[in-house]
């Protein structure tokens, strides 16, 4: 590629006379690199310009609109002309946080469900990831195959993965009930998995199945960066493999873990895909995650003002939690660009 681009236009071999003219600008330009401060100062902004314009269009403007929406009574009749929706101040927020009224009560419930779901799903995903990564740190026969197999649930498009789970979890004719009822005889009746209280269990299992490979992937990469000398020194000192894991591997992983857990938390807490595909537009009460809840109050009951207020509250919560987490662990400070 690089050999093709220079010759045709500027200095061809046919025109040696043209070469000085063609190279002419390059000499001053070479000198200009250092002294011409204005040019240098403007250049990064010029390179950033397309990204900045897009950022304003896709992130900043929607966020401003979202905040404005949250102060309006934006019901179905105003969707086509949202500017005309009446201004109602903080009413949407007041209703959303009033836990004694139906709207606030339902929001609080779905918030608590989301917290429980996030804690369980992140813990299990991290635990499986770190266990598998440590056990597979040393090579053994079939490691490559297992690695690929473990990563596949994460590589699958989320809808195909979750649709498959909803097939497995069908009450009649699902694989799960076939195994626990027909084959193992663990239950007298066949439980429902996609409605009722069991739906929470189903949600956690599917989310863990989907996210633990990510923890595995990141932690395996992190394990490669632990200096081998540490293990060699430990062996010389007579430390067995379990001691090496406890004293070297786990402590070395801690900076990676701090970032990993934060990422897993944010993904899981904000997850929309898994519950939406598993349960549809309105999730069972036991598995009513906040993102689904907001989606439903916006696109099923068509109250955009209320949905926006809930989104803003969700964002504030995430900002506070992330801020506290970063302060507590110092995970954010180490990677200044």
């Amino acid at each position: 590629m690089t050999t093709l681009s220079p010759p045709p236009g500027t200095a061809g071999p046919t025109a040696p006379e043209a070469a000085p003219a063609g190279n002419g600008p390059s000499l001053p330009r070479r000198r200009r690199i250092l002294p011409d401060r204005l040019r240098r100062a403007g250049l990064p902004y010029l390179l950033l310009l397309p990204a900045l314009v897009l950022e304003i269009l896709i992130h900043l403007a929607p966020m401003v609109v979202g905040v404005v929406m949250s102060f309006k009574e934006l019901t179905q009749q105003y969707i086509r002309d949202w500017g005309a929706a009446p201004w109602i101040g903080a009413d949407n927020f007041r209703i959303a946080v009033d836990v004694n009224a139906p709207v606030g009560e339902a929001l609080l419930h779905s918030f608590l469900v989301t917290c429980a779901f996030t804690v369980l799903a992140v813990s299990f995903a991290w635990l499986l990831g770190v266990t598998a990564a440590i056990l597979m740190q040393e090579s053994f026969r079939g490691r490559g195959v297992l690695r690929a197999l473990f990563l596949t649930p994460y590589a699958l498009p989320v809808y195909t993965a979750v649709i498959t789970w909803s097939f497995l979890l069908q009450r009649d004719g699902g694989m799960v009930n076939h195994v626990i009822h027909d084959q193992l005889g663990l239950t007298d009746t066949e439980p429902f998995w996609l409605i009722g209280d069991n739906s929470f269990v189903a949600l956690v299992v599917v989310a863990v199945w989907r996210t633990w490979p990510f923890a595995f992937l990141i932690l395996m990469a992190a394990l490669q960066n632990i200096p081998k000398e540490l293990y060699e020194a430990a062996q010389v000192d007579g430390a067995g493999i379990w001691q090496q894991i406890r004293r070297i591997t786990l402590p070395s992983l801690s900076p990676v873990n701090q970032v990993l857990v934060l990422v897993l938390f944010l993904w899981t807490f904000n997850d929309f895909n898994v519950p939406y595909i598993l349960f549809g537009k309105s999730a069972p009460e036991a598995a009513d995650l906040v993102s689904i809840h907001i989606y439903q109050s916006s696109f099923v009951t068509w109250d955009f003002g209320s949905g926006s207020a809930m989104s803003v509250l969700l964002l504030l919560f995430l900002l506070v939690v992330t801020g506290c987490y970063l302060l507590a662990t110092g995970a954010g400070r180490k990677r200044d660009v």
Partner: protein
């Protein structure tokens, strides 16, 4: 771990047991997915059975006529491809500026980019939906439901991710390379195009694949922003469920058709992906 001696039995047995359980957990849904896609309808509507009564490839034939799967496929390809192309192109310039230059507001820019990744998608969905509906009404152009509008919404997650990953990749390329190009008379853009980009090809490909994967799997925006003609695979697969029954064997066949290229690309490029993810986030 470099161990001249074999690991102790306790470790080997723990490894065998744990990895066997994990294999069952990871592989069972995949196994059911593949086997069910080869079963006759009877087998997937009645009680579950591990062994199919007969093997058939007819689900793979029927998926294309039960729903307009080819159209959905094309829509997904266009939307994910365009979002990936746009974001990688724009991110290349932005990441180069951040990686190679000092300038006012650099920290603010990178922090903003990083923080948008933590925002829930639903936060952008409601305003973008309203903006597209109202802008469409004002201009008379049907923006809402169009592929273009969906592509723009996909940039909300592909662009910050691409910028962030590419900064990591560009940082890992020695500055001496492009400084040499600058002293040889290349302009800054020349240095980017002729030196930095070629050196970062594995990284750029990995970023593109990852962006494409996330766009290909996107459900939230697609569920709201598409209509019958612009529907993507993520939403189109729901068409195999009719009022009376679900064609599970066809669902599984179509899922595999939608998955295999993505999974193959991911597994082939995962080493580069990890390098970028760790360079960007977990240094």
């Amino acid at each position: 771990m470099v161990s001249p001696t074999a690991p102790p039995r306790s470790f080997v047995w723990t490894r065998r047991i744990v990895l066997t359980l994990l294999t069952i957990f990871a592989a069972t849904p995949l196994l059911v997915m593949v086997s069910s896609s080869l079963k006759p309808l009877q087998d997937v509507s009645d009680r579950f059975r591990w062994i199919p009564s007969s093997l058939t490839i007819s689900p793979y034939v029927d998926i294309w006529s039960t729903v307009p799967l080819a159209d959905y496929f094309l829509n997904s390809l266009i939307v994910a491809g365009a979002a990936t192309g746009c974001s990688v192109l724009i991110a290349t310039f932005a990441a180069y500026a951040v990686s190679r230059y000092r300038f006012r507001g650099k920290r603010l820019f990178t922090v903003t980019i990083l923080s948008t990744q933590m925002f829930p998608g639903i936060l952008f969905l409601l305003p973008l939906f309203l903006i597209f509906v109202n802008l469409g009404n004002a201009t008379g152009i049907a923006l809402y439901g169009s592929r273009g509008a969906l592509i723009v919404t996909y940039l909300t997650f592909t662009l910050p991710f691409s910028i962030w990953m590419l900064i990591g990749y560009f940082d890992s390329i020695p500055r001496d390379l492009d400084e040499a190009a600058l002293t040889d008379g290349c302009g800054p853009l020349g240095a980017l195009m002729r030196v930095v980009v070629p050196a970062a090809v594995p990284g750029i490909v990995a970023v593109a694949v990852y962006s494409f994967m996330t766009a290909w799997g996107e459900v939230l925006f697609a569920s709201v922003m598409t209509n019958e003609t612009t529907r993507t695979l993520a939403i189109g697969l729901q068409g195999y469920a009719t009022q009376t029954q679900v064609y599970w064997n066809q669902v599984m066949a179509a899922s595999l058709v939608a998955s295999v290229p993505i999974v193959a690309g991911f597994l082939l490029l995962q080493r580069y992906l990890v390098a970028g993810l760790t360079a960007g986030a977990v240094k």
